[in-house]
């Protein structure tokens, strides 16, 4: 399958500072990929290289096989890009602004008018179509930039922190929108700090730190690599101090925390130890209602790999 996006050994230096250090990745058509990393990791720089806002020091970025920096007018035709928090032409109305961008994408008048209605409906700004943007709140301006990004019905979306500046409802709307794009087979590169958003919508993630790709892969695979080291056990009755001491003595338990009739057990994370602990608890007469390994989130993985990278113990 042809790659919608391909980044090949791309390097970007600003003077002595290397923002991107030989990053490579490929995104197939129809894939939704999360691009994750802490502030300053190089996510936005990569996205700017992919949209010809920056020129690479070396390496190449391709959209549908076309080199973005060599032939941007062709490469950017199927792309909708939302980068950082762009300024907005506040002396225009949404209708005027979207008409301008629609014409840049060579849409005809009828198509522009139809799409304006659709995209303003999607971002809940239909009632504001002919009002001056200068009167809009930050969240409304943000939603308008999202509408602008999808106006020409792009095949490929490049989104850099799309939920910035939105209220919780707006964030949920963006998440729903991403799910809709996924169902429509759109290719999306999503840079985000909101890991729920990424784990809910993305097929794959790429972790970036200090200009280097640390790891990448399908979310399920990445989550599968994570060792679950905590089990939550719920008992029929509250536990006495003596009961807690008895549990602590079970081989394999490193530590535990108690809260009423629930305890959280820390152990080495292996299935064998987990099984032995359960057998011991039952064997010692404890009435166990539930025994569940704690679900780990993408966030835990993010924190753990970032800590590993920086040598945090």
């Amino acid at each position: 399958m042809e790659n919608a996006i391909e980044v090949e050994k791309i390097v970007k230096r600003f003077g002595d500072f290397t923002a991107i250090n030989g990053v490579s990745f490929k995104i197939k058509k129809g894939e939704i990929v999360g691009y994750l990393g802490p502030n300053g990791a190089g996510k936005t720089t990569t996205i700017k290289l992919l949209t010809n806002l920056l020129t690479p020091t070396s390496g190449h970025a391709y959209i549908n096989g076309t080199d973005v920096n060599k032939n941007p007018t062709e490469a950017l035709v199927p792309v909708g890009a939302l980068i950082e928090v762009p300024g907005i032409y506040d002396y225009l109305t949404p209708h005027e602004m979207l008409t301008y961008f629609g014409k840049i994408y060579k849409m005809d008048k009828r198509e522009i008018n139809q799409r304006i209605k659709e995209v303003l409906g999607v971002v809940k700004l239909s009632d504001w179509e002919n009002k001056k943007i200068v009167s809009f709140s930050t969240g409304m301006q943000r939603r308008l930039t999202i509408a602008n990004t999808i106006l020409h019905d792009p095949e490929i979306l490049i989104l850099d922190e799309p939920a910035i500046g939105l209220d919780p409802k707006g964030i949920k709307d963006v998440r729903d929108l991403l799910k809709q794009f996924k169902s429509e087979g759109m290719t999306v590169l999503l840079s985000s700090h909101l890991l729920h958003e990424v784990s809910d919508t993305c097929d794959r993630v790429i972790f970036l730190d200090r200009g280097n790709v640390i790891t990448h892969g399908p979310i399920d695979e990445i989550m599968g690599r994570m060792v679950v080291e905590t089990i939550e056990v719920k008992f029929l009755n509250s536990l006495s101090k003596e009961d807690v001491k008895k549990i602590k003595d079970i081989e394999g338990i490193h530590n535990l925390e108690m809260d009423g009739n629930i305890i959280k057990i820390n152990f080495d994370g292996t299935s064998e130890t987990s099984s032995k602990i359960l057998i011991e608890l039952i064997g010692r007469g404890f009435k166990v209602i539930s025994y569940a390994p704690q679900k780990r989130e993408l966030e835990d993985f993010y924190v753990s790999i970032m800590n590993d990278e920086r040598g945090v113990i």
Binding site: N52, L53, P72, L76, G87, L92, I104, K106
Partner: protein, 269 residues
Amino acid sequence: MATADDFKHMYLSVRFELLKHFRRRRILITGVLAVLLPLIFYIVPPLLDQDYTDAANDFAASNLGFITLLIIISGAIFAGDSISGEFEKKTGLLLFPTPQRKTSIFTGKYIASVIATWLIVALFYLVTVIEIASIYGVSEISVEVIQSFLIALLYSTSVISVVFFFSSIMKRTITSTLIGFFFLMMILPIITSVLMVAEVDPWFVVTHSADLITDGLGSGGGFVHGGGQGPIEFTIFEPDLYTGIGVMAAYAIILFLIGLVFANRRRME
């Protein structure tokens, strides 16, 4: 090689840049100045019980003494943010990742600034011509006034190119606007004066060439450089018509092209 799409994108850029000048009331403000400034020489003499000058061309020269000031104000207002604004206000993050050449965008913005300034200059001349017709009669509207108008349009274009150049290299719109304004309003005239004191012909200074706007009309020009009555004596160099036109055209073309190169190389970091 420019394509038909490039010209379409350029046209779009011109249209929306003009809309910006209109919505931001820049055209209104400079338009009001273009009407009020020539009205001073029409209204004040009767109020002071004075007669108008005998010759229509002298009256036009007096009126047009203000035109260079208006051109510089308009140039700074219209072109000051043409490039720097997209970077400072980050609207470039919306506009640049689109399938159009930056050359089309920036050339469109340049043309819009030229059109807006030409409109203001044309309005100033229209008011002046109406005044001449009302005081001296329509037959007194001379060829020199038309020549002056054409030179003023050329000078406007060179002023836009100067400010456009500063806009392409400056980070902030306020800086590009003010530097453009003071460069044309103060720095170049000071250089001209210093050169004249040194008895060097400042033929290559564009603001010196701008004297051609009124030179063809007679003696009434408002901004004639002179020796004064102080201890310093210097020769007054009058610009040559063809050299002056060449200088203005050179400023217009060269600074536009340099500005375009800088603007194209500029990146959204």
